[in-house]
Symmetry: C2
Subunit: 165 residues, 2 copies
DNA sequence: GTTATTGCAAACCATTTGCAAGTGT
DNA sequence: ACACTTGCAAATGGTTTGCAATAAC
């Protein structure tokens, strides 16, 4: 078993961030560390405001100013740790882009739930289309709108066809 | 040949808008008419600012205040005439949603330009994925990010130096 | 020391809104 | 008269930025 592999998968978001910061002559300060750790403590989507709240309710000196949160989030996007996934209620929404597989979303118009899915052929199609138009792809965002399984199901027991005869 | 068909396709955006406005007890004022007509005078994507400019440079009394442009654009989205297609340079970008085929976009991260494309297999894939997850699709939004042909080209190549000798 | 970084408050900026004056019926 | 509209200017609200104080190297 390769040690390299073990090492590769064990690079924490904070380490990955430090790596990126170093190449830009920047440091992984306590504030930035707090932000990265808080962000990667849960896989939920979030916006800047929610993150500031979560950082405010921390025990001790973990508080980080709103300005620094914004600045750090931008750096994390640049570093490939986060991705702006959508705009909801006039706010940027982020999700993990590191240690998490690429995926797209089914968005239920009724209950608002997000369902993630992966589809390999998709990327191929996009690449092909883009190439034809001389466009260099760096990423994409795909949101499929409709109604999720739960919301499609009638609230009560389903009507069995036989009952209708 | 059916007259009904002829009538159906001849409904102008302005008429469609008036129809919608009427159902809400609103009127197709000269200002609103100017906006609709300017918007549908070209198939290009546009943002509010560009539209205000276009309306300002009109000959006579066609000028419409910024506030009214914003208000009217929102109504047109509600009426199904326009669609907010993306956010570019921190601005909402609109495109025709009436009398125009469905398509997706390549978005250049450098110059912000939008390129449209149509791809039939795409819808099939989405339908298939969704079905597997019990999701009923009603629509989607796909934005492909990257760099457009013009921006990928080295700066020199853009203006041909030979012409300047 | 020098350079990066933080927090605060102010600035930004696209979009929205309150309101008084105007317009069509 | 009445209800809808407009344009102006002011407000909103998420995000960015200038700057002086602070911390890491």
């Amino acid at each position: 078993m390769s040690e390299l592999t073990a090492v590769a998968v064990s690079v924490s978001p904070a380490d990955k961030f430090r790596e990126y910061l170093t190449t830009r002559g920047m440091r992984l300060t306590p504030e930035r560390k707090s932000v990265v750790e808080e962000v990667f403590s849960s896989h939920e989507h979030f916006d800047s405001d929610q993150l500031v709240d979560r950082l405010s309710s921390q025990k001790e000196g973990k508080r980080v100013s709103r300005a620094t949160v914004y600045r750090t989030l931008n750096e994390m996007v640049e570093a490939g740790l986060l991705r702006k996934v959508a705009r909801s209620q006039n706010r940027d929404v982020y999700e993990h882009d590191y240690g998490y597989p690429r995926h797209d979303h089914l968005i239920c118009g009724k209950c608002g739930s997000l369902t993630e899915f992966e589809n390999a052929p998709l990327a191929g199609i996009l690449e092909q289309v883009a190439t034809q138009l001389g466009f260099r792809v760096s990423g994409h965002r795909l949101e499929v709108y409709g109604m999720c399984a739960a919301c499609s199901r009638p609230p009560r027991a389903r009507h069995r066809k036989l009952d209708m005869i």
